[in-house]
């Protein structure tokens, strides 16, 4: 066990954990906005897949990863718009519309992949950007400050979103809409518009989350490559108590433990690999059960809004 607590191992965990956490951060922070406004979007996984595909396809065909990122963001917004129409305007049961959106994204991204690409190929994605001075800090510098831009963006998104939600008027409106839409409505807030904005913003970030895999971290597209990450991202929103910093804590915990369990296997520590793989899931539940303070969920979460009710 001692060998696990050596410097190279700890630095390795730090490095891999940061990379693993990146897609979760984009997707889960985006979902935080949607849920804060009162909409549960279970379709994050499907949006991520569409984002991953479109980011990769446009990035490869144009030779410009920025265009790929833009495409992923736009497709994410479109998927968010679809979710909004069904769940907000049509007031559909949100649990089920999300599952429909997931299936749609899963199927469409694979179908497009099959018809436009046909085989797995790799791409030259976003390159690591070394931040001068900071990256020269002994030991941790290279690990923390030599990543691609999307990794930095994911981590910057957290304080930005926290500030936006808690300090700006628009953030206040979002929270009001998720907490008590009728009251917000009487105060002149356009509940429907705020919810559309938040779900589309969540969709955009989920699309970018997918692109962070296909054009920045793994640099290829394969069918169903997110493999359940979207659902974990939704779970992380609950873990984080609908706060960006809480989401960050959850994403880091999950990712660090995942990186840790791989080291446990690499170093040949004798436990069955299946139990090692379980660790992040078990610890996330335990951490929420015993270590953190529980937040109240937005009171109007999953409840459709209609003017003049109550």
């Amino acid at each position: 066990m001692d060998e696990l607590f050596k410097l190279p191992v700890l630095l390795g965990i730090l490095y891999s954990g940061i990379r693993l956490a990146t897609p979760y951060l984009f997707a889960a922070v985006g979902e935080t906005f949607a849920q804060r406004s009162g909409v549960l979007n279970l379709g994050v996984e499907g949006i991520m897949l569409m984002g991953a595909y479109s980011g990769f396809y446009v990035g490869m065909k144009s030779g410009n990863v920025w265009l790929g990122l833009l495409a992923a963001a736009l497709v994410g917004i479109l998927m968010g718009l679809l979710m909004s129409v069904i769940s907000i305007t049509m007031q559909a049961e949100q649990g089920i519309s999300g599952i429909g959106l997931h299936l749609f994204g899963l199927g469409l991204s694979s179908l497009l992949f099959k018809t436009t690409l046909g085989s797995v190929e790799s791409i030259n994605g976003f390159k690591p950007v070394r931040i001068p001075i900071l990256a020269d800090i002994p030991y941790v510098g290279e690990v923390l400050f030599n990543h691609n831009l999307l990794v930095y963006a994911a981590f910057l998104l957290v304080p930005l979103s926290a500030w936006f939600l808690s300090k700006t008027t628009f953030g206040l409106k979002i929270r009001a809409v998720g907490q008590n839409p009728q009251a917000a409505d009487t105060l002149g807030v356009n509940v429907i518009a705020v919810r559309y904005f938040c779900v589309c913003l969540g969709g955009m970030l989920a699309g970018i989350a997918g692109a962070s895999l296909s054009i920045a971290l793994i640099n290829l597209f394969q069918e169903n490559m997110t493999n359940g990450m979207g659902f974990i991202a939704v779970a992380l929103v609950y873990f984080g108590g609908w706060k960006p910093y809480g989401v960050l804590a959850g994403a880091l915990l999950f990712s660090f433990v995942n990186a840790f369990q791989l080291w446990v296997q690499v170093l040949g520590i004798k436990i069955p690999s299946d139990f090692a793989i379980m660790m992040p899931y078990v610890l996330t539940i335990l951490a929420l059960a015993f270590a953190t303070k529980r937040a109240q969920q937005p009171a109007a979460l999953t409840k459709p809004f209609e003017r003049g009710e109550n």
């Binding site: 630095l11 390795g12 790799s122 793994i218 069918e223 791989l262 690499v266 299946d274």
Partner: protein, 336 residues
Amino acid sequence: MKSTLSRMLALVMLVAILAAGCAPAAATPAPEAVSTVFKVAIVMPSSITDMAFSQSMFEGLKKVQAEMGGESAMEIAYSENLFKVPDAAAAIRDYADKGYNLVIAHGSQYGTSLEQVAPDFPNTAFAWGTSVDTFQASGINNVFAYQAEAQQGGYVLGTIAALMSKTGIIGETGPVDAGDAKLYIEGFQKGAEAAKPGTTVSVTYTGSFSDVSLMATAAETHIAAGADMLTGSSQSVVGAIGVAKDKGVYWFGTQWDQTSLAPEAVLASQVYDWSGIIKDMIDSVQKGVMGGKAYTLTFKNGGLVISYNSAITVPAEVKAAADAAIAGINDGTIVP
């Protein structure tokens, strides 16, 4: 509202059943004119573009098709991503029902279903793998079985990796510690340790056949632990290959030639060439033998091929050691 919905659903069903009852003729295909086209159908658990297990078989079929003279001589129908066994069972039965001459169930998990379907279609030949059981013990004579001796190629690639490694550390990463992946990974380990005693081979599993991201992280972890040679099994390894490329270490592929993904990093691959087996099965069926044979892909019968990447120079003595390993496996002096 609640009860009307359920009533509505009952109504839909009724309509659907009626409609189906009224219009079955439209959907049943007209009886085919008697022709010499050999019809093969294949049912697969993953996608034909998975760069691994399913793709190797599909490309094998296409190769045979080309050799036989294209679509006019051999027809291929496929159903992919059927990881749900009941769906695969329905597909197997359906293809048999439609008169396909050979129906391939390309997944060991399909065995139980095949054992139930095959007796109902004595004039159809079935094949399944990876397995060695043709069900002859239960009185079924129209099933072929096939499997790959994944450990053979693993052994040879392990030999190459150990001799090429500068750090003496090799990383292997698989999906689940079972089946074909387990055979390959254990063979690789054996080969590496035999070629250069003292080589460290560490193994990780991600617990999933499709978790590309965790597979990439596993590769990162191996590299951080000092590995400069990596290998792995399943369709999710594409993630690890990307990491190998970025970090400048070598990758060894299995099941399918993975060179195209990273020409600068994939040093060699064990390729499953099923075409020989497929041809033999088709020959048998045309002669009226519908099953009963168990095939294995080995170096000896040409079913396993080590495909080197021409863009990377492998020292002659390493290639010689690999050839010696193949020879040893073929004459039985080496048991991977």
